[in-house]
Symmetry: C2
Subunit: 205 residues, 2 copies
DNA sequence: CCGGTGCCTGCGGAAATCCACAATAGTCAC
DNA sequence: GTGACTATTGTGGATTTCCGCAGGCACCGG
């Protein structure tokens, strides 16, 4: 597990250093990358913190890196930095889920504030993602049959009906039911439906 | 109930007419307003469609109108139109929840597409808002006591425990329970918790 | 005063849930 | 083959839920 780190991707060494120094002066750990590709080889789903991304770079652009990260299911909040941005580009980036879009030259204090906000936002997200992951893990422990039964329990069906639908004895349904509760760490169908409520919701922020 | 309408707010008559004509040519009904104030007197929570908003206007600016509408709980998706926009302004608007931010001169086809997207988005939102409203209405029909009981049912407590906590007989709890199910139009505690799941979720889109 | 509503309670029974104990059978890996 | 896991079923009983029937008490508006 890599800690909370701000990843800086920029082809200009001076910019990288300035940003790293700025963040360090405010107590924010950071790591720098010379190109989109370099970061991409390192990127994974479970990074924590945020990403400061230059738009215009030789090779892969920041925008393209952004898209690729999304494809890799990397949900790190992204703050774009650019000296040659225009409104449509900023709008598109934000609509695609970027956290912010800042023009160079940037205001140091404001930028740090944005980074801090992004980090906090990511903390919330990753906490929620964690509990969802745990939930999926528990769900994965369920047998095929148990999942079939669970689905019908959540539909509010009586054990008798479920047994009928699956062509098995009511007693068997009861056994599955108790196994489900045990594996999902809940003690009633109500709790179960509440816990599973998290899954259906869209992961917006 | 006013139907799905695109509201155009711009101080320039030529722009208003051009936009209205453009939208009409693509089958989108619209209504025009000469100023932010004029629209504000008309605005209400239950408008349907979208809002095309000029940023720079004499008197109240589009941004300010936007803020006021949010304060009035008017959730109409807003597309900003401006000839003098900059990146920070666009970023701020989008982060505040604007649907889009378009520079003049605009591309006619692209703009109409954005309007259509906004209208569709609003349709989804208003449908969800409608069901939430209905839900709150049903909740409002519940007696004080019934709400207390419901809360404990959702906590997964047994009737016996609930009776104990409220200092009443178990039979009474049962009566409340059945009244709750009846008023909420559900037939089990599981359904109840699922229906109420909609309320807890943030209304993002 | 009377009717309506909300809140509370008891009785008794049908139906459903929960659970311990006990057992059969198929699959799969070691 | 043996052991682990899964699916299945049964018996029997304790507990809980659900519901109709019946009644009491308080408050409030006509």
């Amino acid at each position: 597990m890599s800690g909370v780190t701000t990843h800086i991707v920029d082809d200009d060494p001076a910019v990288r250093d300035a940003l790293q120094w700025l963040l360090q002066s405010r107590g924010v750990l950071s790591q720098t990358w010379k190109s989109a590709n370099e970061f991409l080889t390192f990127a994974s789903r479970d990074l924590c913190g945020c990403l400061l991304l230059d738009v215009r770079m030789p090779g892969m652009s920041g925008i393209e890196l952004f898209d690729r990260l999304r494809a890799l299911d990397c949900r790190l909040p992204v703050i774009f930095l650019t000296g040659h941005g225009d409104v449509p580009m900023a709008v598109q980036a934000l609509k695609d889920g970027a956290f912010d879009f800042v023009e160079k030259p940037y205001d140091a204090n404001a930028l740090v504030d944005k980074v801090l906000a992004a980090i906090e936002c990511d903390g919330i997200r990753s906490a929620r993602d964690g509990s969802i992951l745990l939930l999926r893990q528990k769900l994965g422990q369920l047998t095929q049959r148990e999942q079939e039964v669970m689905q019908r329990i959540l539909a509010g069906k009586l054990n008798k009906v479920i047994a009928d639908e699956l062509g098995i004895a009511m007693r068997t349904v009861e056994v599955h039911r108790s196994h489900i509760f045990e594996k999902m760490h809940v003690r009633s169908a109500v709790e179960l439906s509440q816990v599973l409520g998290l899954l259906g919701d869209k992961p917006e922020s």
